[in-house]
Symmetry: C2
Subunit: 632 residues, 2 copies
């Protein structure tokens, strides 16, 4: 097998996609030195991979492959989609091989790949739930058993592994299975089996496999799976996004991870086909999600029942589901939208989703996880080391292991910086030039961003001005630059750069008090606090005996930022003199009472309280927490 396409360890390869504006950098084109992402990335590579490998063994997820291969006795153990956790781990390990290759990890990956290869059936089939169970039922339970979802994760892992290492062993396993899937699924009049998976994933995976191998049929197959939806093949309901053909959809519905994996796949298909009805549906769905069905944390999927999107404005705080995996899926979707359109709003959302919806899913120690990320809690919701349904831990691992790949993109002779973090960037431009940059910044704690150009050349440097940044300023070599700095768009610096040129972008970071739409009743009269891209919260830990529900921030109260290098891994906290308003005694042991009977509350106490970034909540002693705070 000859593979002709190799563009480095990029997360999504739009190099040859006719309808994409940007192409990513390889994840190893960025060396991070910041205090948020790099410690977590390094911990993922150095410790989490080994820990999760051990858990994959302990929970028989790897044994299932050996059992299929006949190397050890036993039937299938675990949930039917457990193979996918192995694949997500492989993907994470592949990204680690791009940035931090070691012979040990290489060997470990190869040994796992060999387990997969040994378990693969002669026709290319690979799914232990069926090979160890009822093989005559394969392909017949797509709505329920995630067969193509698992295949998709295999393909994503294979593509990442191939891009990171150039090795074709895992890619070969993937191709053999993909060929079988292409031969199997399609329209009835082509002599094939109509079908599409109950859990989307195969769509984006097959587009990427097509990109990595140059096989157009994989991309066509992805498009088939997309358009097979909405005709009752995948359950026929909103939960599976099978209630409507994708091109007719307007509302994000059903299982949130499924929904955003579907839109991510549709965006990949659009990048290849330019089909405007797909793009129009993506735009409608994005508007509905961001304007009606998203938390202020950028988290999505509010309903516990079905891990699903709720109706418009159905965004309960303490009963928020907001699965960590849904945040990751949203990043995947928005990353593709950014590559397609070059519009900064997608990068804005990637940034806030990473900080405020994904990162809370991981403990500061990096060894426990949230599945759900509520915006209010009584102190009982704590992170756990693993789950029976363990989608989130390896999903976090693969995202953190490749996090550098989200910082910048290139096209022609242009490089755009989307996320700001202390880093070195080494980017081959499509024009042939090579751009080397050093980014120095304490962002997101401080809005001063210095970009030093280390390599001479004529190219455009595009810098994202976040939507919240009204008063950005920019100098080049210390002199104010004559360039537009539009919030929610990019400053574009087109110039013959000299090595040693220094760009200083300053994004002032006033504290922002956000109000929610009045139909989101739970947040009426309350505010959420952001500074830069970071959402804040109030937890009892560090604040005496305060009940966050009773705290009110006067309109004129100054929230002062102070960096605490030794607190919670180093965070900027916000301090404020707040009112702590005890409840009127008449509420003791009462849930409802006539308005006239509500007693006068005691005068509020003034108390200095400290808000912390929401993404580090619940890393100290348990206690109540609120994102939305009262006003006075």
């Amino acid at each position: 097998m000859t593979v002709e396409v190799q563009t480095g360890a990029v997360i999504v390869d739009t190099t040859r996609s006719p309808y994409a504006r940007w192409r990513p950098l390889p994840v190893d084109g960025v060396r991070l030195h910041d205090s948020i992402w790099e410690p977590r990335r390094r911990r993922t590579v150095q410790e989490t991979l080994a820990e999760q490998y051990r858990l994959l063994e302990e929970t028989d997820r790897l044994a299932n492959f050996r059992r299929t291969a006949g190397k050890e006795p036993g039937g299938f153990t675990g949930i039917y989609f457990n193979d996918s956790d192995v694949y997500k781990w492989l993907e994470a390990a592949a990204w680690a091989m791009a940035t931090d290759p070691t012979p040990e990890l290489d060997r470990l990956i190869d040994s796992v790949v060999q387990e997969l290869a040994d378990a693969q059936q002669p026709d290319g089939y690979l799914d232990n739930f069926y090979t160890l169970g009822e093989m005559d039922k394969r392909w017949t339970e797509l709505v329920r058993t995630h067969e193509l979802y698992c295949a998709g994760h295999l393909f994503q892992a294979a593509v990442a592994h191939y891009r990171a290492t150039g090795k074709e062993n895992l890619l070969g396993v993937a191709r053999r299975f993909a060929d079988l899937i292409c031969d199997t699924f399609g329209p009835e009049d082509a002599g094939k089996r109509p079908g599409t998976d109950g859990h989307e994933e195969i769509e984006m995976a097959m587009v990427e496999l097509g990109r990595a191998t140059g096989e157009q049929r994989y991309i066509d197959q992805a498009a088939y799976f997309l358009d097979a939806r909405g005709h009752g093949l995948a359950g026929g309901d909103e939960y599976h996004q099978d209630h409507l053909p994708f091109r007719e959809a307007s509302d994000v519905v059903g299982h949130a991870v499924r929904q955003v994996y579907l839109t991510a796949g549709a965006a990949d298909i659009y990048a290849e086909t330019g089909d405007e009805s797909i793009k129009a549906a993506l735009d409608r769905l994005w508007d509905n999600m961001t304007q009606r069905r998203m938390y202020v944390s950028s988290g999505i999927g509010s309903r516990w029942e079905g891990e699903a999107f709720g109706k418009d404005f159905e965004l309960p705080n303490s009963r928020a589901y907001t699965e960590s995996c849904a945040a990751i899926g949203s990043v995947m979707w928005n990353w593709r939208m950014l590559l397609l359109t070059g519009e900064a709003r997608y990068a804005d959302l990637i940034e806030t989703t990473l900080y405020n919806a994904m990162l809370p899913g991981l403990s500061l120690e990096g060894d426990t996880y949230y599945y759900q990320n509520p915006l209010s809690d009584d102190g009982t919701h704590r992170r756990r080391p693993w789950f029976d349904c363990a989608c989130c831990p390896p999903n976090l691992a693969r995202t953190l292991a490749s996090i550098g790949g989200y910082l910048a993109t290139v096209r022609d002779n242009e490089l755009a910086l989307h996320l700001y973090a202390d880093a070195e960037i080494d980017a081959p431009l499509p024009s042939g030039d090579r751009v080397r940059l050093t980014v120095n910044t304490a962002y997101p704690w401080d809005g001063a961003i210095r970009v030093a150009v280390e390599s001479a050349g004529s190219f455009t440097l595009a810098l994202r001005i976040p939507g919240w940044s009204a008063d950005a300023s920019l100098t080049i070599n210390g002199k104010p630059a004559d360039v537009e700095l539009p919030p929610g768009d990019y400053a574009r610096l087109e110039r013959a750069w000299q090595a040693g040129d220094v760009v200083d972008l300053t994004l002032p970071m006033p504290v922002r008090r956000l109000a929610a739409h009045p139909h989101l009743f739970e947040n009426r009269g309350r505010i959420a606090i952001m500074r830069g891209p970071v959402l804040y919260c109030l937890e009892r830990a560090g604040n005496g005996t305060v009940d966050p529900r009773d705290v009110r921030l006067p309109a004129d109260a100054e929230l002062s930022a102070r960096h605490e290098p030794d607190l919670l891994g180093g965070v900027t906290v916000l301090e404020v003199e707040a009112l702590v308003q005890p409840l009127a005694d008449s509420w003791t042991n009462r849930l409802y009472q006539p308005l006239g009977a509500v007693g006068q509350a005691s005068p509020a106490d003034r108390q200095r309280i400290t808000l912390i970034p929401y993404f580090v909540w619940a890393n100290r002693e348990p206690g109540p927490m609120e994102v939305w705070l009262g006003t006075a």
Copy 2:
């Protein structure tokens, strides 16, 4: 078999219960003539019973019995607890035989009883899911398959049928099964099988069966089942109320119907045993439910996931679950608490639960049902004729068919009126006297209640003064009576009554604006409107194009009551000049924005709006509805 105990068609028989203060009247001791309960009761007896019988046949619920008996071929159809729907129907039909006996209904009941008898196994066992399935698994899946729950509904039906008709055919079936259960379940050291059901019901059913038959062992068995909880036999979790021994419980948790069926059973056991640790637990659970986990509608069980109680203050309006069956279960529990204690607060809650939590579950036509009863809706939640899990329709039927039984209770030479409705009451007092009363009232639309004594005698007439009624007044034969009228308690009129004596109780019904506890954030700054025991709501139907979410009631706006005899079956509506506040344009297509960027809204429009009783919502064209309204 000789049955010695027969006290009329009472809902719960506390005649010989040493720790109960009241005993019920037979359901046929009350003839209703009112405009709310009687039309619904009559419709239940005259039409619903026949419709539901047809549905029981159509859905093979009755066929399952015939299949077990070998009368027709086939396996078990439906959900494992489907037998219980037949039993609930039988109970409803039994109550109808008490109030409206016909030879046709009697024959129909007997034919169904014969199906049951023919399906009963030689050892007394009766559960079609197992007799048509894997009999070797019987008793082994109590956590999941509701085996004893089904048995409990059989026993309740049998007791009702025996009390209503004196017939022992169904009671005999029940006794044979109950004897088997008593022989089977118990402590291991008694040589029995430890166990208790995953869905409570058997507890109250076995106490009642013991009362009806005089068999103490059934009551002892109920107590065994109660105390078997909390030791991991029923799942070990909150969902099944198996996380703690009952006597240690303080919070209502888990599946709401299960929780209140359990407390109802525990109350029945307390009535017989006087065990104070049971009563103390009941009191704690009641406080937690009413002070922290109940809607203003008196509905309970806020969570869709698990049909469960939420945490304290977790009471979302549009995503309220508030199952109709949970309301019925709450009535069952509170009825027993009232019988035990004689405290009016339980009657208050029975009344508001019947009007505002149970009745909304039934359409005005009486032929469609709500499973969930949200307090806010966008117009998409509509009643349906039946459900795969069809617990609610026959549960409503058995409650409505026996509704007259909840109006009054007796003890010694005292009769208490708990619920007010146009009715004739014919009550044998335990002292031997017979009291005949006529109640004339348009309650709950009007607080004027006339009680005419039709039979001479010395007895105490106790009249409930609802908790909301601050300015009650009372005359006897037109003259002010020297009697205390304490809200939330009873006025007690002890007198040698003459036939023709007339008591006029007047309960003024000002409109009440209720506020919710400040920690119930969704309702902050909003009010719920009640008048008398009736909760009101605003739905778009009848109110032009109003969006109920944008309506604000000024503090001084007068809500004027007007009876509309031709509207929605005859209801008193509330009219008010409200402000309709359009949203600021800055909210268009935005979910969050900085406080300072929120635009000025246009001035509010004044608009005359009409509120209707919540229990008749969604009986006109679909549209949005809110119980909680904004204030201005």
